[in-house]
């Protein structure tokens, strides 16, 4: 393995891992804020109990999101120093806002929310979690602006003197057309993820044996509200994803060709639901195809022309030189790893549809206050939170792997981005240590979440008046030690 391989594996592992926590943070904060607002307005104790129950699960999740985010910043300098040098000027500006404004906003108001239960008025307290949520949105906007710049660089000029891309137009970077579709797509997917988290957990808590009647009614509320949020967000994800496909075809046609492993330009182009056999285009393969669908995804018309890999490769070779990736990528260069782009694209869409179907099914089996039997449905409770996490991961794998061999499209290849002086041993040590550490953290995190899920929502206590309360904060259990 080369340093590039190892650095890419590390980036893949720790970024996919980080993004397990991020969408839960974004989506769950919105839902908790909704529950708390409902409590402030209706004084129905169910809403408060749900707020606190999911709030606790949220906090365990948030801490890991924060610490794994810090690793990301370091890794750019350590493994990808040439990339940092090259794009720091451009990439850093949106990241700076993310770090400065949004992240501070999140952590500050989350601090107030955690410790402010008895010290802030209910309205102020609910406002805190809304601000946390807004912080997560601002945060994702700027991070995605940085990523969109890598997909479609704009608003910069290349300075031959410094050998760097330098920012010339901040607004162009912020309102990159890729960004304008990526942001809604990603945030809506995060709402789906947060909602699925709520639905799965509440559904399990509702159907489990021995749940009290009143608790069942409360979880039923969460199941229903979560499912509705999930379905609405799901529609938005599909819609924004469709537009995103067209923008992607325009700026990175190779990625769309790679999503289908389409070797030769077709008009109209069909979309294969799955393929058995090789994707290298040389052999006959068995595939179930929907005529014209790829044309529609790429161009908006069932008769549109979709360029194939061979034509695009010839084009890129004419534009960027014979082969930037000869040393590292497939001999053809300019072509991503097709098996990965092909399958991750399908898994993203398929799993996304599956989770929406799950929510619809749950809405049906819980209609008019029904509580379905546990034995029959427990698998659904387990599947719901996991499916969108997998779909999100495949989506990122698709969009990042589909950009290869570029780190920054048309400007810098992944191979050029890596730190030139890092040795294989150093890179290997760091990826092994981080992976093991992350595995341990995941194990503990999941165990803790499960402990609190099993314990269920705490009973309702009348919230004390913030002005006369004693210090009876949610004392951590383990402080007996």
């Amino acid at each position: 393995m080369s340093v590039v391989d190892i650095a890419r594996w590390q980036f893949g592992i720790i970024t996919v891992y980080h993004f397990l926590f991020v969408p839960i943070t974004i989506g769950l904060s919105a839902i908790i804020a909704g529950y708390e607002t409902a409590w402030v307005r209706t004084h129905n104790p169910h809403w408060l109990r749900l707020t606190k129950f999911f709030g606790k699960l949220f906090l365990i999740n948030f801490a890991i999101g924060v610490v794994t985010g810090i690793v990301q910043e370091f890794q750019f300098g350590m493994n990808w120093s040439d990339y940092s040098r090259f794009v720091g000027d451009v990439f850093g500006a949106p990241l700076a806002i993310e770090g400065l404004a949004a992240f501070f906003l999140e952590s500050t108001f989350l601090g107030l929310w955690i410790f402010g239960w008895e010290r802030l008025s209910p309205r102020m307290h609910a406002a805190c979690i809304w601000i946390v949520h807004i912080g997560t949105l601002i945060s994702s906007f700027f991070i995605l602006a940085a990523n969109s710049w890598m997909q479609h660089p704009v608003g910069y000029h290349y300075s031959p003197v410094t050998g760097r891309a330098e920012l010339t137009d901040f607004a162009a970077v912020m309102f990159n057309k890729v960004q304008l579709v990526t942001f809604p797509h990603t945030v809506l997917a995060a709402y789906m993820t947060g909602a699925a988290f709520v639905v799965g957990i509440a559904f399990w808590s509702m159907i489990r044996k021995g749940a009290a009647e009143d608790d069942r009614a409360m979880y039923h509320l969460a199941v229903r509200t979560g499912s509705v949020v999930l379905l609405i967000a799901g529609l938005g994800v599909a819609f924004s994803g469709d537009i995103q496909g067209k923008v992607m075809t325009e700026v990175q046609p190779m990625k769309m060709a790679a999503a289908e492993a389409l070797y030769n330009t077709e008009q109209p182009a069909s979309f294969s639901l799955f393929t058995i056999g090789s994707l290298d285009g040389s052999k006959e393969k068995f595939a179930v195809k929907v005529p014209g669908l790829l044309s529609f995804l790429a161009t908006g018309s069932f008769h549109g022309k979709v360029e194939g890999i061979n034509e695009l490769r010839a084009k890129y070779q004419a534009e960027y030189g014979k082969d930037p990736g000869a040393k590292y990528y497939s001999p053809g260069g300019y072509t991503p790893v097709l098996a990965i782009t092909y399958w991750s694209f399908r898994l993203m869409i398929g799993l996304g549809l599956l989770v929406a179907a799950g929510a619809a099914l749950i809405l049906w089996i819980t209609r008019r206050g029904r509580v379905p039997p546990k034995r029959r449905w427990v698998w659904l409770a387990v599947a719901m939170p996991l499916l969108p996490l997998a779909a999100n991961s495949f989506a990122w794998i698709f969009t990042e792997m589909g950009r290869q061999p570029w780190a920054v499209f048309g400007l810098m290849t992944t191979q050029q981005a890596v730190s030139p002086g890092v040795t294989v041993a150093e890179a290997l040590t760091s990826v092994i240590v981080l992976t093991l550490l992350y595995a341990v953290l995941a194990f503990i995190e999941i165990r803790l979440e499960l402990t609190y899920i099993r314990r269920g929502a705490d009973p309702y206590v009348e919230p004390p008046d913030p002005l006369s309360a004693d210090d009876s904060t949610d004392r951590p259990l383990a402080f007996a030690y």
């Binding site: 810090i70 910043e73 120093s81 040439d82 000027d89 402080f479």
Partner: protein
């Protein structure tokens, strides 16, 4: 003053603030570690959790602030530092991850045994992290980071300036945390606890002060430019720091905890600012000047706008949070 200097100053302000807030945060781990057994240390550990719980995430955002500005405004120097100081940075990072995660895990752990395990990880990583961050600062300040990066992975930080830098960082963090925790304990009427913390903080403060004095000798030989700067241009700040440090100890001794807090902050801030002055105009000591390292002017300008917006948006909120956590209403017994 050039745009690059303004940005460097904004970044350095982040370093000063991180040293103070992040430092107090890290230092609480020292008191957690030395709190005593399960039976006797519970009260102190609850106090620590209560004091840093609401602010620890915000405190560590300062680190992100520093990294981001450094990376954006001075990309080549950032890459040079991260590639040279790969080892201590990775160890600091490990400490940050373990510390944040185990702090949260401890709070939510289901059994005492679990909580104890996470508590030990939290406390020990609270000591490890500032040590390596201090070592990184020592390497930069003693000119160990070559402009092109890829300095020796070991000798660039295994030398007296870095080692003392790390030790002083650990001592400083504990001293700051001690001053704040003692005041917190006194304000919430935990008198026995505040007495215990007072004694420990006095000891830590005296030891750290002695360490700084001892360190001056090897640093004089190991990092001439830094030493010249500290004893020359930055000498007034070093004096301020020494006086404030001594005053803090006196105030702690006389149980004037509110004032002692201010003294501790001044002592630490003055010495950190002194380091900055001693190192200016070098971004990487004797290797890269601030002006030469700066990125494109448009980036620097954009960055300053961002910093300005952040100050407007964040400072009131953060101030409110600290005001709440440090006020009477928050820390009633």
């Amino acid at each position: 003053m050039s745009l690059a200097y303004v940005v460097a100053a904004a970044m350095f302000a982040g370093i000063v603030i991180y040293t103070l807030f992040g430092g107090a945060d890290f230092g609480s781990g020292f008191f957690d570690l030395t709190a005593g057994t399960t039976a006797t240390g519970g009260e102190l550990r609850v106090l620590i959790d209560h004091s840093i719980g609401p602010v620890w995430e915000a405190n560590h955002v300062w680190l992100i602030y520093i990294l981001v500005i450094w990376w954006t405004a001075f990309p080549a120097a950032f890459a040079a530092t991260t590639t040279t100081l790969f080892v201590p940075l990775a160890l600091a990072l490990l400490g940050i991850v373990l510390r944040g995660a185990s702090f949260a895990f401890r709070k939510y752990s289901a059994t005492v045994a679990q909580a104890r395990l996470f508590g030990v990880v939290f406390a020990s990583s609270s000591l490890i992290t500032p040590f390596f961050l201090g070592a990184v600062a020592g390497a930069v300040a003693s000119g160990r980071v070559p402009a092109k990066g890829y300095g020796d992975p070991w000798s660039s930080w295994l030398h007296p300036t870095s080692v003392f830098g790390g030790l002083i960082a650990v001592g400083t963090c504990a001293f700051l945390a001690g001053a704040f925790l003692t005041a917190d304990a006194a304000r919430s009427q935990h008198l026995r606890l505040s007495e215990q913390l007072r004694v420990r903080t006095l000891v830590v403060g005296a030891l750290t002060g002695a360490l700084v004095l001892v360190a001056l000798v090897p640093i004089r030989h190991d990092a001439r430019s830094l030493s010249d700067g500290l004893l020359g241009r930055a000498a007034p700040l070093v004096v301020v720091s020494a006086i404030a440090g001594a005053a803090t100890l006196l105030m702690l001794y006389r149980r004037r905890y509110g004032v002692a807090r201010i003294g501790a902050v001044v002592a630490v801030a003055a010495v950190v600012i002194g380091w900055g002055m001693a190192q200016s105009p070098w971004l990487l000591m004797n290797q890269v000047r601030i002006d030469d390292a700066a990125g494109a002017p448009a980036t620097l300008a954009a960055l300053l706008v961002v910093v300005g917006v952040a100050v407007v948006v964040v400072v009131p909120a953060l101030g409110y949070l600290f005001w709440l956590t440090q006020s009477e209403r928050w820390t009633r017994p």
